[in-house]
């Protein structure tokens, strides 16, 4: 904290020392409008430091008809950076399907909203906090969770669950352990204290994340359908109220930092990371929901990226209104803060609201009760200007609509990734017996148990967690039931790298499959697109390809995108991350007691495999972990088959014909079976069919597949035949070993030890 302040102060005083008083009257021949003293000159260097390209600066000057003030430059840099403006991704994001009869609010608000019946709505979104988490893992991850929770309760929803998707560098990289430890503790530290269960997620390791870890946090809340709150202001002369924590000098330029690559100086960016206070956020939640219930609120917007600037502009612009802010009224944590600093601070746990004037006193009393700051800091005006006053001077006077709407939009050049060769299963000679390969896989960083992580998250608070972490999707009861939500977060970056289009499709399909596997009807998704530098055509090609794939899958599966976030420039010294479009999926169960789990339930049950298996080893974890190769084309995704198989599985679950269901994904069939065995401590006797090489059958990552168990195979087989769904028997449950082919049988207990030990021993430094 102290470091953050001193750094910001130093910059300010340095600028001031170099640029005493009005020094910036002539910039490219354009005169300034306001007389503001003691501000730095707008030099090419300063413009570049604000992340604005020369042509973007020209556009800005043309737009306002003069040179900007220093504060205005800061405001523009906040509004026009990649993080806030989506300038590289916008035209591609527009192609995504966002509508369905059950969608109440698609992208463009704080979070997406869908109708789940009974007068209730689900509000959810996923957002990245990648750059801050790499610089300062605990606070970066914690404030990522805080930000996404605020997005959800800003809309009037009480958060009921969180998920996260984490990507870290090579386990052998010296920094990885430190990042894992800090990020996991930060996520837990915030969510546990705030009081929301963190019920699911995923975590992977790959050297391509060495310089940029990914922290994608998702929050899900429940609101009454007719009591959703939006950010558009309405009415002229309405009080704009500042609520929550005080404003400090932390996080200035956070969004700009998150819109640039890292160089060798990444550590020096620590002052741009904010510090989280989950206690204040919990108070803010309760206070906001209370004043919403009392009918005080016209519009509300949380102060996230680019803080006061972004929230005030958005509220005004969306409501076709102007905004006047009086910064002298902003509650500050430190003295002597400039307009520039206040407008760009990303101090956490703050909200901006437009209140009904007659309810102002009532709202204030509620905030005081919760011990939170409450200050009227502005009003709405009919002028469509964004005016910022401070110390008697006008520090900014800008056209409000254009600030957001006229942000540059780029159709950046993009080149498609080169097609990878399809690897025939027969061309891969198994280096190990399948039993050894299985042991190796489930003891690997990506496939091992993530218990060490999820035990640091309170996943049972609120008393509604039906399925805890470790299954295909988490299941959380809605209020007192009987409805429940199924929640998942998925992506397979190595597929996306090899083929962004198929990888994009696969991420959506896997989320859809995970929801189907617990018996839920998938409703909608949120996407969190993490990529490298979009100014490089090959990276832009990944983004474009993945968005196309996501769109195609979402359309085919009736699984609209209702919210999302784009994180670009995840690149260090020219090395980009694997393309990682994380998909957060939400599905609904009519009866939470009927949710399906992956555990074998009893001995002597039939094990069935649903879906076609050609033995696709390209880009499989078997190829990577066992054969030491990362190549080939990823498995293609047949969306029609996905849909048919998913619906078939759900109907079997609904009718009580199956006893366990598990989707087949990373690691392939044998890994899925081992997971089912380990969680139940029941073994299985398995047999590979003829026609596919055994190692490809057991470890291929063909899509659209599920493992099922049933007491009575006949009815399931008849149904599959009638509906032309491929289904074969691959064995039966029972015993205490996994026995297959003529391999040495593997005791389930020993497998579990393998599965559970990698992460704790790695984190203890003993691997």
């Amino acid at each position: 904290m102290a470091a953050a302040c001193s750094r910001a102060l130093w910059i300010t005083s340095n600028w001031r020392r170099d640029n005493p008083l009005t020094i910036w009257e002539r910039v490219e021949g354009i005169e300034r409008l306001h007389v503001i003293s003691n501000q730095p000159a707008i030099t090419a260097k300063l413009i570049a430091e604000h992340g604005l390209k020369p042509d973007e600066y020209e556009r800005l000057v043309k737009l306002i008809g003069r040179a900007p003030t220093f504060t205005e430059l800061g405001i523009f840099s906040a509004m026009w950076n990649e993080h806030c403006s989506y300038k590289s991704s916008k035209i591609h994001l527009r192609t995504l399907p966002t509508k369905a009869p059950w969608v109440i609010q698609g992208p463009g608000e704080n979070a997406g909203v869908i109708d789940i019946g009974d007068g209730l709505a689900v509000v959810f979104k996923m957002e990245s906090h990648n750059h801050p988490s790499y610089i300062e893992p605990y606070q970066g991850a914690a404030t990522g969770v805080g930000g996404i929770l605020r997005d959800v309760f800003t809309m009037g929803a009480r958060p009921i669950a969180c998920l996260n998707a984490l990507s870290f560098g090579d386990p052998d990289n010296a920094r990885t352990r430190h990042l894992v430890s800090g990020v996991v503790a930060g996520i837990g530290g915030y969510g546990n204290s705030f009081g929301v269960p963190t019920v699911g997620g995923e975590m992977r390791f790959h050297r391509r994340y060495d310089g940029n870890c990914l922290v994608n946090a998702m929050a899900v809340g429940i609101a009454e359908k007719d009591k959703i709150f939006y950010s558009a202001a309405s009415g002229v002369g309405m009080p704009i109220v500042y609520l929550g924590s005080k404003t400090g000098r932390d996080g200035i330029h956070g969004a700009t930092m998150a819109s640039a690559e890292f160089g060798a100086d990444a550590d020096e960016k620590r002052p741009t990371v904010q510090v989280g206070d989950p206690f204040s956020e919990k108070l803010l939640l309760e206070a906001c929901l209370e004043i919403m219930a009392k009918g005080c609120v016209i519009a509300i917007q949380d102060m996230g990226a680019a803080g006061l600037t972004c929230s005030a502009v958005e509220m005004g612009a969306k409501g076709d209104l102007g905004v006047v802010l009086d910064l002298d009224s902003v509650p500050c944590r430190e003295t002597g803060m400039s307009a520039y600093e206040m407008m760009l601070s990303e101090s956490q746990e703050r909200m901006l609201m437009v209140l009904k004037p007659e309810k102002e006193k009532e709202a204030e009393a509620i905030f005081r009760k919760w011990g939170l700051d409450f200050a009227v800091v502005g009003t709405t005006t009919p002028s469509k200007r964004f005016v910022v006053r401070h110390g008697g001077a006008v520090m900014a006077d800008l056209p409000i609509k254009e600030l957001g709407d006229e942000a540059p939009v780029y159709e950046r050049p993009h080149t498609a990734s080169a097609r990878r060769e399809i690897i025939a299963a027969a061309a891969i000679k198994p280096p190990l017996p399948s039993a050894d390969a299985l042991e190796k896989l489930i003891g690997s960083a990506d496939l091992c148990s993530k218990r060490w992580v999820f035990e640091q998250y309170d996943h049972v608070i609120l008393g509604n967690t039906v399925q805890r972490p470790g299954g295909d999707a988490a299941v959380v009861r809605v209020n007192e039931g009987p409805k429940a939500l199924a929640l998942t977060a998925d992506v397979t970056p190595r597929y996306c790298e090899a083929d962004p289009f198929e990888g994009g499709k696969q991420a959506v399909a896997e989320a859809w499959r995970n929801l189907s596997a617990v018996g839920a009807r998938p409703l909608a998704l949120t996407d969190n697109l993490n990529f490298g530098n979009p100014e490089r055509p090959e990276i832009m090609g990944q983004l474009v390809g993945a968005i196309r794939g996501i769109g195609e899958a979402a359309r085919a599966l009736d699984f609209p995108i209702v919210s999302g976030n784009v994180s670009l420039y995840n690149e260090t010294n020219g090395q980009a991350i694997l393309p990682t479009p994380t998909i957060g999926g939400v599905g609904i169960l009519d009866d939470f007691t009927a949710s399906m789990t992956i555990a074998f339930k009893a001995e002597g049950e039939s094990i069935l495999l649903l879906g076609e298996t050609v033995g696709w080893l390209g880009q499989s974890l078997y190829l990577r972990e066992v054969c030491g190769r990362e190549d080939g084309a990823p498995p293609p995704v047949d969306l029609a088959a996905e849909r048919r198989h998913g619906e078939f599985v759900r109907s079997l679950i609904r009718e009580g014909l199956v006893t366990a269901v598990h989707d087949v994904s990373d690691g392939g069939l044998l890994v899925a079976l081992a997971e089912m065995a380990m969680v139940s401590r029941i073994g299985a006797v398995l047999e590979a069919p003829h026609g596919v090489p055994a190692h490809a059958f057991w470890f291929g990552e063909d899509q659209a597949r599920y493992v099922l168990t049933t007491k009575d195979q006949g009815p399931v087989e008849r149904r599959a035949k009638a509906e032309a769904v491929p289904l074969i028997r691959i064995g039966a449950t029972g015993g205490w070993v996994l026995a297959f082919d003529d391999e040495w049988p593997l005791p389930v207990e020993a497998l579990s030890k393998h599965f559970e030990s990698w992460l704790p021993s790695y984190m203890a430094g003993s691997r």
Partner: protein, 233 residues
């Protein structure tokens, strides 16, 4: 049974607790704000629930222990009223002087959320009459600071006077360091004060009270309390 659940800023398991009390006692508990100075008239049971009161920023429970409502709670306990203090509530009760000892950081120095097994040491108290002595129950824990410790004399007294009501154990009831996730001395999970009317415990019985949600091991504690007041009436 009329219960009052205290709400300090930052407390976050008050809803879980209120639901358990409602389901088992059939009566909605009163939620009592920290700034109050009196408990609702006729309160039978005071519950200090879990969470992060005041962010746990000074020391877990230290600020809440000095909140206005706590004087009323101390008076209530001094008069023999029953107080159930769970998780952060246990930490608050220790800080408030209602119970001896202190909860340190878990021995692994990490927050831990998982189901644990508790051996019920006695069944002849209002809090444990719903169980049998020696019975093992499974309930979740979710804390970073649950590692109970007190000076040797206090521990000897607690043990000598049978004031340890719950201990972390293996599923078969054996006390085993491998099943003591936070390193608490003598595997202590829950204790009562000298008079036996204030129980502090780290685990969350309120999260295992519904059959439809999977487990009901926590019901016994609340059902026992309901019986206790029924008999007293």
């Amino acid at each position: 049974m009329k219960s009052a659940v205290l709400v300090f800023p930052g407390i976050n398991r008050e809803r879980d607790m209120a639901r358990a009390l409602r389901l088992i006692s059939g009566r909605e508990p009163a939620l009592v704000w920290h700034a109050e100075t009196e408990l609702p008239p006729g309160t039978d049971l005071v519950v200090i629930p879990g969470g992060f009161s005041y962010g746990d920023y000074l020391r877990c429970g230290a600020i809440a222990a000095r909140a206005p409502i706590m004087d009323a709670v101390r008076a209530f306990a001094a008069g023999g009223g029953l107080v159930l203090a769970v998780c952060n509530g246990f930490q608050i009760a220790c800080e408030a002087g209602l119970l001896p000892g202190v909860l340190m950081r878990n021995s692994q120095l990490r927050f831990i959320c998982r189901d644990v097994y508790l051996r019920v040491e006695r069944s002849d108290t209002p809090f444990t009459r719903g169980y049998n002595a020696g019975q093992v129950i499974r309930v979740p824990v979710a804390h970073g600071e649950g590692n109970y410790i007190a000076d040797g004399e206090t521990i000897a007294r607690l043990e000598g006077e049978g004031r340890v009501l719950f201990r972390y154990s293996a599923p078969d009831g054996i006390i085993d360091p491998n099943w003591n996730h936070n390193g608490a001395i003598n595997a202590i999970a829950g204790i009562v004060n000298e008079r036996g009317n204030v129980l502090g415990m780290m685990p969350h019985p309120e999260n295992h009270v519904e059959a439809a949600m999977g487990r009901t091991d926590g019901r016994g504690l609340f059902a026992g309390l309901v019986d206790h007041f029924k008999l007293a009436a």
